[in-house]
């Protein structure tokens, strides 16, 4: 029997509702505890606001003295700018990452800054993590192709740029960004989705001409670009 045509949208939604309704969930906690938690939260916010005034005053003083470097990298609303990359938060909820090929990528900063924009990522240096099978949905998380002629081919990209949509990230998955400095002086970044509960990492740079095991062309991305020093002899 083929039941494909028998399920209407409402029937599918009802089945989803029934399955989720069968999950055991906790009874509501005591409402007094919730209200107390809210009051504690309000107190913390007031304290933070008071502390914020002091920080703002200090920042204003630093700016007046030309000491912005002492307060960390230069940042504008919606944009994180470091020496090795720029991350822009777009109005549609996506984020655009542009790598500066003249500098070595800072994986720790990139992972932390991606997280600030709601993009769970594992950014590793001299290592690359993959899952087999790969989680679905890479094309939705990293829509379109990166700017530049190097996508999928071993050609240098002047200014590697990719756009990431955190709302499309499947549950239980995160972006794996493996970064390598090649002996040629070039840099290579490989990007895939991994299942956070099951993945392995390797210190060997993946073959740039073929997707990693468990992935295909549509759910992996390789970027290769010039490094800070001239490539090759």
């Amino acid at each position: 029997m083929n039941v494909h045509d028998e399920m209407s949208d409402n029937e599918v939604l009802r089945a989803a509702s029934d399955s989720l309704s069968a999950l055991p969930v906790a009874s509501p906690p005591d409402v007094e505890a919730i209200m107390a938690k809210g009051r504690a939260r309000r107190r913390r916010r007031r304290l933070s606001a008071a502390a914020g005034v002091s920080v703002a005053a200090a920042a204003g003083t630093a700016l007046a003295l030309g000491l912005t470097g002492a307060l960390g990298p230069a940042r504008t609303p919606g944009t994180i700018r470091t020496t090795s990359f720029t991350l822009v938060s777009n109005s549609d909820g996506t984020a655009t990452l542009t790598i500066n090929p003249k500098e070595l990528l800072d994986p720790t900063a990139l992972q932390s800054d991606l997280a600030q924009y709601g993009i769970p990522a594992k950014v590793t240096s001299s290592s690359f993590c993959t899952s087999d099978p790969a989680p679905a949905g890479f094309a939705q998380v990293v829509p379109g192709q990166p700017a530049g002629p190097g996508t999928g081919t071993p050609q240098p990209v002047a200014q590697p740029t990719i756009t990431i949509d955190p709302s499309a990230m499947p549950a239980g998955a995160e972006l794996s960004v493996g970064y390598f400095q090649l002996s040629s002086g070039e840099q290579q970044a490989d990007v895939v989705l991994i299942d956070t509960s099951s993945y392995t990492c390797t210190s060997t740079p993946p073959d740039f001409n073929s997707p990693p095991p468990g992935y295909d062309e549509s759910d992996s991305l390789g970027l290769r670009y010039d490094g800070p020093s001239p490539a090759g002899p």
Partner: protein, 165 residues
Amino acid sequence: MSNEQTEFAEFFRGSWEPCLRAVVAVVGSPQSAEDQVAEAFAKAWVSWRKVRRHPAPRAWVVRTALNTGASWWRRRRRELPLADHDVTAPGDLGGGLDTTLLTALWRLPARQREVIALRIFLDLDTDTIARQLGIEAGTVRMHLSRGVTALRHELTTAKNMEAGQ
């Protein structure tokens, strides 16, 4: 207890379960969802004068819970960079469940899960979902359609396999 407290308490008791189930549908982990929803209700109490006038206060709680989850996860990752994301495996949730459907649901993109959760647990119409998520009604319809299509595919495949056995 003041009138305001009584009113919030009634809202809380009547809304806890649908809000929690909606958040479970999106985040996958009942334990994380419970923490996030409790935090969201605490925020709702802090802003109760605003939330009580909100056109869809339960949706406000769910949206807040989901945003809370994102910021918690960021903090947890900084503290434990190698910690796994704690989505519950459907097979671990006990017998009698349609694990195929739950697995398929949690594989959907986040936005599709949000739209489905708001529709089935809060019974919100398309326009209200669109306002809550800050997207166009047409985009809601697209996410709902794609999500339902993916779930239907998994369900019918599983049922056909059962029927063929």
